[in-house]
């Protein structure tokens, strides 16, 4: 097993607020790993720090063995690390196709881009139908599909997904998770998934971490965590 991402003793502050406290987290190539945690636990902060939108106040982050915690976000993306952010953040003023082109912004391989475009259209046929419409006309669930497809278009080796099921109809959630699983299995992309829907997330994951008040409080294989009493109480509604 090769490590693709390693977070070592990372602290993140917003001014005086200590949002993430000395966390350690490690991802192996090809895995799907879930980061669980309740509202305000620090999940989005962690993803933003990995992506370079935030800079840690301490610790280091290694991507394929090289430090990335001081790089600007666009540099990190160029190394093959993409994120589908919380709340989708699609470019509402751009068409669906243009959104996907922005995902492929750093690429110049026209033919491959076209092939990847066809791949995400197969994954999410709704996007193809509405290709030339503005992204603001999409429903929440469709925007989520677009956000994932857009992140995919940079052809990353590591994909971060922040709450892809947030506020989305159950039927769409199922198809989104099916797509996540497929991207992981067919394209070999490593995925770090942030979720509050613990059952669904754990059922597609290899391993998981639980974040509580900015600290890693629990970690283990997805199976272990599904059986864990604390997890059941806190996240699975038993």
């Amino acid at each position: 097993m090769t490590t693709i991402l390693e977070i070592k003793n990372v602290d993140v502050h917003y001014g005086a607020i200590h949002a993430v406290k000395k966390i350690n987290l490690q991802l192996n190539k090809g895995e799907i790993v879930t980061l669980l945690g309740s509202n305000g636990a620090g999940k989005t902060t962690t993803l933003h720090t990995i992506s370079g939108l935030l800079t840690p106040s301490g610790g280091e982050i290694l991507f394929n063995g090289a430090p990335i915690h001081k790089m600007p976000a666009h540099k990190i993306t160029s190394l093959g690390l993409a994120q589908s952010p919380e709340g989708r953040q699609v470019f509402a003023n751009l068409t669906i196709r243009e959104n996907l082109e922005m995902g492929a912004y750093l690429r110049n391989d026209k033919k491959e881009i076209e092939a990847d475009l066809q791949y995400v259209y197969r994954l999410f046929p709704k996007l193809k139908e509405r290709e030339s419409q503005l992204a603001q006309t999409l429903s929440g669930g469709e925007q989520q599909m677009l956000a994932i497809a857009r992140a995919y278009m940079s052809k990353p080796t590591l994909l971060l997904l922040d709450e892809p099921s947030l506020g989305i109809a159950p039927i769409l959630v199922a198809s989104i998770f099916k797509a996540i699983k497929e991207i992981n299995e067919q394209k070999g992309m490593t995925i770090l998934l942030v979720e509050q829907n613990a059952y669904l997330a754990l059922s597609v994951s290899n391993r998981a971490y639980v974040l509580t008040n900015g600290e890693i409080s629990l970690q283990g294989s997805a199976k272990e965590l599904l059986a864990n009493e604390e997890i059941k109480k806190a996240y699975l509604g038993h």
Binding site: S51, T77, S78, P85, Q89, E101, M102, A151, S154
Partner: protein
């Protein structure tokens, strides 16, 4: 009476045509205002000074016997380079400090260049000749000059160019993406600082171009940016700030209204007209004629 009325109509048409030519220039300057606002929500009060610096450099290029097209290029590049430097050294460090500090900084920058201009170029007005030999055509009771026609055509061309840029090129689409959501654009791998620099450059280069084309109506002096910048700002707001066609529309409206009022009523009212229109728009539709209702982050 009917004879007088016909003369009145001819007059109106003449002022309208003059207004379109003048409005084309306002539009050209307003475009940069609106582009910069669109990308980082900054009202760049120093935009008029970028124009002034470009026109000054163009003036000296002409005095050094460069041909007009080369002088125009010099003007556009000087405006653009000054804009890149100001963005990098002044606006970027305070970009995250909020809107009011940014506004005050922009006003300060504008004042700085007005006095810097007097120091470096002198306060005396300088004249730039029309960029082509002026010929006047008489059409019935009205006069149209080839300079007016050319200015209008150049502005239309610039608008088409900007449309092409923002819809058919990678950098232009990235400009739209950054303007809508900067962090998300950064996540796409877009170097948002570069896109912002490019936007400042492009907007200021158009101001420099406008400054050179203005040679036929006004002289170049260090304080010229204040009046022109204000008109362009009003034009951008009237059309809907942040919206490229809006800036052009606003420019034409201000130019035409000014000329009609100055011609038919009193020329001393010229500068008051734009503010009257501004107040009217802010009362009726604060987001501007082409503006959508304020929902985007402002």
């Amino acid at each position: 009476m009917s004879q007088n009325f016909i003369y009145f109509l001819w007059d109106c048409l003449q002022y309208f045509i003059n207004g379109i030519a003048q409005g084309s220039l306002y539009a050209m300057v307003a475009l940069g205002y609106t582009m910069v606002y669109g990308i980082i929500r900054l009202v760049n009060f120093a935009h008029g000074e970028f124009l002034m610096i470009g026109a000054m450099c163009g003036f000296y290029a002409l005095r050094a016997h460069l041909p007009m097209p080369a002088a125009i290029l010099v003007a556009m590049l000087s405006s653009g380079i000054i804009a890149i430097a100001v963005e990098r050294l002044v606006y970027r460090p305070i970009r995250k400090s909020g809107r009011i500090p940014a506004l005050i900084t922009a006003i300060g920058t504008s004042l700085f260049f007005q006095y810097f201009g007097q120091l470096v170029f002198g306060a005396d007005p300088k004249t730039i000749p029309p960029f082509i030999d002026e010929k006047i055509y008489n059409l019935g009771e009205i006069n149209v000059s080839n300079v007016q026609i050319a200015i209008f055509c150049i502005t239309l061309f610039v608008l088409l160019f900007l449309f092409w840029l923002t819809h058919y090129t990678k950098v232009g689409k990235a400009m739209r993406a950054v303007s809508f959501n900067l962090p998300a654009a950064e996540l796409m791998g877009i170097n948002t600082n570069k896109i912002i620099s490019f936007t400042f450059f492009l907007g200021a280069a158009l101001a420099g171009l406008g400054g050179m084309l203005m040679g036929y109506t006004m002289s170049v002096e260090p304080m010229m940016g204040m009046n022109l910048g204000t008109k362009a700002f009003v034009a951008a707001v009237v059309g809907g700030i942040g919206i490229i066609p809006g800036a052009a529309l606003g420019g034409f409206i201000i130019g035409i209204a000014e000329n009609l009022v100055a011609g038919l009523y009193k020329s001393s009212f010229r500068d008051a007209v734009s503010f009257f229109i501004l107040i009217l728009i802010l009362l009726v539709k604060p987001s501007g004629i082409l503006g959508k209702n304020m929902k985007e982050k402002v």
